[in-house]
């Protein structure tokens, strides 16, 4: 037994030694491998693997977090100026827009939208912009890959680069139109870009005729009539009619330049079998390039050595200087050398690692909200003492999003435009206490919506002028109308105390949702409680994602909750959600409530082609008033984003439109190192304590064993 005991002790010592050897860092809990933090590194995460990193396909924020740092479109949103302002990025200047009538005659800038047959955007691009180093520019690799190349990294192949030309933008627009690409905006762009649909049809035909034809060759064999090259630095895009919002699309990754060589290179079957495709390994001109892509573990961006001259802005609004956001003014971008995105599916480990200093910034989940944020007696938001001691900073911003409860306007009970139906909807709008909802379910992170347009978007009005008078009144500030007023409206609608006067039966309404699970149960109970205030019976019809979408497309849902995030900062991108020709069940558009009001539609058509003038504001005001009176939505709320940053993470500024924010971020590695060392000193004594406890347990066990072995049978 003694020798067995010795063996056990030796084994334990060996295990501890191995453990200490394996973790030879000063901080044993460092979740990164050694020598990885050379230079300035940003540590961040992703919760699910992106579906696409091809700019023609990607359309989600988690995809943009990567590709907007690699690809660059023609324009970008100024990082510090508010309201959001577009500025050239790869373009030399803002585009020259010309208008033409049906006969092709040039019209003046003031021409009415109805006179304009098409608009022409003439775009000049900057000189001497180079693509990142990439093997696709090594044309010898297009035909055959080196026989001895067995690596998983394409950056071990010989690389090259070339200058950006207008052909690369044109090629990307062709990719958008190509049915094989399956771009989510292909259908939308077919409505605007001249010749887009025709090109798409020709590509389909070519694919059928010559299935073996290489993609780059196929796309280059035809041209889009409305997209013309003038020279290597200039090209034009023709748009049907007038569509001022088109420039916002040009600021999205969809319109980033794509070299034809990329399609040629990635056509190798051997690469496809290793999941090395253009959809996973981008080729761009941006401040970083994607060096490592394991979407199941991590993605690593490295500074692009060929990145063009791009400098940190030297002016901004909203007290940018006072906030220290101009400290790096004039410095060449990007300000960091590397960005590491690690997969972090669960919020608890992410939060703990942020507190340990292993992530630079964090959102705040409801689990950790109380640890991080405190509200003062006056309701002001602040950080807890624990966060302040750690030097963590808080930033808040109302997002350009709307979450709402929609009524199906085609429904016989809740929908329609009769006074009876309107008053029923008004009554429901009053009792839906979104202040309470925000307090319970959003930890106070939200602003009750007064209309469809969120703060930060042109057309939104604060204060009494922006108030929704159907639901609120102004008494030293916004004040929700009383439940009695709602009950009175219900009486006027013909449902006194929730009883339908026509049938003498209780009013039963249906709410369709795909929410399930314990979290949503509380939300659905809250919803029932709101309707109970009016004695209206609410039936929850839970369903899965597919059936819910099907109900919405068919116009079979009565009430539903939905949301919208802005594509670009223009009121058109919100008001179109109520435009009659976008009615979901009738035209397959994004108007989920199937709202149709001819006056609203006429105003929308006029407003959508206007510049941001006072006249446009007046029209928007009118549209908002009409929609508030018709109440196709309970306007819901605009969420507020809270984000925390460590002291070494500089220049963080909430910009809800820009996706390419990483290049502006600066890091002070010494501060991070000091924090990590201070906060992550390993504590060994519990291990020794546990060891002692085990020994203490072994002693009586051994004594019993010895007694048992020495005992006689009789």
């Amino acid at each position: 037994m003694t020798s067995l005991f010795k063996k056990f002790i030796t084994l334990c010592s060996f295990a501890i030694l191995l453990f200490l050897l394996g973790c030879s860092d000063t901080t044993l809990n460092n979740p990164y491998v050694q020598n990885e933090d050379v230079g300035k590194v940003i540590y961040t995460s992703f919760t699910e693997r992106p579906k696409h990193l091809d700019p023609a396909k990607a359309y989600s924020s988690n995809e943009y977090a990567i590709i907007a740092q690699v690809y660059e479109p023609l324009f970008q949103y100024h990082y510090l100026k508010r309201p959001y302002q577009l500025e050239p990025l790869l373009a030399k200047s803002m585009p020259l827009v010309s208008y033409f009538d049906k006969q092709g005659r040039l019209l003046s800038k003031e021409a009415l939208a109805v006179e304009i047959a098409y608009s022409e955007y003439t775009i000049s691009i900057k000189n001497n912009i180079k693509f990142q180093p990439h093997p696709s520019f090594n044309t010898q690799l297009h035909k055959v890959l080196p026989a001895d190349w067995e690596s998983e990294s394409i950056y071990e192949l010989p690389q090259a680069t070339r200058l950006l030309t207008s052909d690369d933008f044109i090629y990307q627009i062709k990719r958008l139109a190509d049915p094989a690409t399956q771009s989510p905006i292909a259908g939308l762009m077919a409505n605007y870009i001249v010749g887009f649909s025709e090109f798409s049809n020709k590509q389909s035909a070519l694919t059928k005729l010559y299935p073996q034809m290489r993609k780059a060759q196929r796309l280059q064999s035809e041209n889009i009539i409305g997209v013309q090259k003038i020279d290597d630095q200039k090209f034009t895009i023709q748009i049907k009619g007038k569509y001022p919002q088109f420039i916002n699309w040009l600021a999205m990754p969809f319109f980033s330049p794509m070299p034809w060589e990329a399609d040629e290179f990635y056509a190798h079957k051997a690469l496809e079998e290793k999941n090395i495709t253009l959809d996973w390994f981008p080729v761009g001109t941006g401040p970083y390039f994607l060096f490592e892509n394991n979407p199941n573990r991590r993605m690593v961006l490295l500074k692009n050595p060929n990145f063009h001259a791009d400098y940190y802005p030297s002016e901004g609004s909203d007290g940018a200087r006072e906030k220290g956001l101009l400290t790096d003014a004039g410095k060449k971008l990007p300000l960091t050398d590397k960005v590491i995105f690690s997969l972090e599916k669960e919020s608890i480990p992410y939060w703990n690692k942020f507190i340990q200093g292993y992530y630079d910034s964090s959102g705040i989940s409801s689990d950790s909200f109380d640890q991080a944020v405190s509200f003062s007696a006056s309701g002001d938001v602040g950080l807890t003492d624990n966060m302040l001691q750690r030097g963590i900073g808080l930033q808040t911003a109302v997002t350009t999003s709307s979450y709402y409860l929609g009524f199906n306007m085609l429904d016989e009970v809740i929908g329609g435009y009769s006074e009876r139906a309107k008053k029923l909807r008004h009554a429901i709008s009053i009792v839906m206490d979104y202040e309470e909802y925000i307090s319970i379910f959003q930890n106070g992170r939200g602003v009750p919506a007064q209309s469809i347009i969120p703060p930060g978007i042109y057309g939104h009005r604060d204060g009494e002028k922006g108030m929704n008078s159907v639901v609120y009144m102004w008494e030293n500030g916004l004040s929700r109308r009383s439940i009695n007023e709602a009950k009175e409206l219900l009486v006027q609608a013909g449902y006194p105390n929730g009883i339908d006067q026509k049938t003498s039966k209780p009013l039963v309404l249906y709410f369709d949702t795909m929410d399930s699970g314990p979290d949503s149960k509380a939300r659905l109970n809250w919803l029932r409680k709101q309707f109970n205030k009016l004695n209206i019976q609410l039936v929850i019809r839970g369903t899965d994602y597919n059936r819910f979408q099907e109900k919405m497309r068919g116009g079979h849902a009565q009430m539903f909750m939905w949301g919208w995030n802005a594509d670009y900062p223009d009121p058109e991108n919100f008001l179109f959600l109520l435009y009659g020709k976008n009615a979901k069940s009738l035209h397959g558009g994004e108007n989920a409530a199937n709202y149709q009001n001819s006056e609203f539609d006429t105003l929308f058509e006029k407003m959508s082609t206007m510049e941001n003038t006072l006249e446009r504001q007046d029209i928007i005001n009118k549209m908002i008033e009409i929609s508030q009176q018709d109440a196709p939505w309970v306007w819901g709320f605009h969420p507020k984003a809270f984000s925390l940053h460590h002291a070494w993470y500089k220049n963080a500024n909430p910009n809800l439109m820009a996706n390419n924010k990483t290049k502006y971020i600066n890091i002070i590695p010494s501060l991070r190192k000091a924090y990590q060392s201070k906060r992550n000193q390993p504590v060994f004594w519990p291990l020794f304590l546990a060891f002692l406890v085990i020994i203490c347990l072994l002693v009586p066990a051994y004594l019993i064993y010895r007694r048992f072995e020495r005992a006689t049978a009789l």
Partner: protein, 325 residues
């Protein structure tokens, strides 16, 4: 025995066809190809033309099981079922619906899963057997009651609690291991300590009680009394005789799961950021990626059958009385 193995391998084919049909029917009862297209294309600006184009590009524009527009064998061949299923029987798993090579994904993700699963299984079984034998040894003693009480406590705690508490105490308070993360090669060591430890502790309660039941049954048999009468020490009796004779049920439990080890663990991998296969199928189900779902179900059932076969073979190794004919 060779005849037996060949016979068993031939049984695999109809089982796999059945599993494949069942997966196909269950999947398409819930999801239509239109639903799959909409899921892949996203919520914004998706037109019916885009949906049709997606189906055409991915081969989901065909009828599900029977193509009336074709003639002869093509009626069955020109269908989604045939086109998407035949390759599986040649282990050609194809491309996922979002364009990734499934074999490449599996071969990349199985190693981290194995890095956690193999040590968890080995050390877990060793710990379970050791503690179970000790409980047998101290039968009727306060140590046995104490041990069984601890086992009940361990069994009563949710697996998720072990993970969160383990991360909190070991990773955060003691700062001894990373809370989550993974690195390939030798660097993986510091990342797998905590999940393996939690896996062992989490399984200890039920494992020890299960093995204890097996050993109890053996410990009252006649040959044990004979061994005692011969004067063998208690440890020799337990480790040489009881353990050896209780091997059949132990092997049944272990060998059958061996081929499935690489499939990973959903919760452990999610919380520890392990890039394994644990969430591969679940993610595919939620993103309605039929190509991955059918491949993983096919692979899972194939490996399970292989596991059962290996179990049968292993019986002959531990018990000379067993013959496979």
């Amino acid at each position: 025995m060779i005849n037996y193995i060949i016979k068993r391998l031939l049984y695999v084919l109809p089982v796999l066809v059945g599993v494949n049909i069942l997966t196909f029917v269950l999947f398409f009862v819930v999801n239509t190809p239109d639903d799959m297209a909409r899921m892949q294309l996203g919520d914004k600006h998706v037109s019916q033309a885009a949906v049709d184009n997606w189906k055409l590009q991915r081969g989901y524009n065909l009828p599900l099981l029977w193509n009336e527009q074709e003639t002869g064998f093509a009626k069955a061949k020109k269908t989604i079922f045939f086109e998407k299923s035949v390759g599986l029987f040649f282990f050609d798993l194809g491309i996922s619906d979002n364009g990734r090579d499934i074999v490449a994904d599996i071969s990349q993700r199985m190693w981290p899963s194995l890095a956690i699963a193999i040590p968890s299984l080995i050390f877990g079984v060793l710990a379970n057997i050791t503690f179970a034998l000790l409980l047998i040894f101290y039968r009727g003693n306060f140590l046995e009651f104490g041990g069984l009480f601890i086992c009940i406590v361990l069994m009563s705690i949710s697996g998720l609690f072990y993970i969160i508490a383990g991360q909190y105490f070991v990773g955060k308070l003691l700062a001894l291991t990373p809370i989550s993360g993974y690195a390939p090669g030798a660097d993986a060591f510091k990342f797998i300590i905590l999940p393996v430890l939690i896996g062992i502790v989490g399984g200890l309660g039920s494992g020890v009680r299960w093995y204890r039941t097996l050993f109890l049954e053996e410990s009252v048999k006649d040959y044990i009394r004979t061994a005692k009468a011969k004067g063998l020490s208690s440890l020799q009796i337990l480790f040489k005789h009881v353990l050896k004779n209780a091997m059949i049920p132990i092997l049944t439990g272990i060998v059958v799961v061996l081929p499935l080890l690489f499939m990973g663990s959903l919760i452990t991998e999610s919380f520890f950021g392990i890039p394994g296969l644990g969430s591969y199928t679940i993610d595919a189900i939620s993103s309605q990626d039929f190509a991955i779902v059918r491949s993983m179900v096919f692979l899972g059932s194939f490996l399970y059958i292989i596991g059962l076969l290996l179990t049968d073979i292993s019986y002959t190794l531990v018990d000379p009385r067993v013959r496979l004919d």
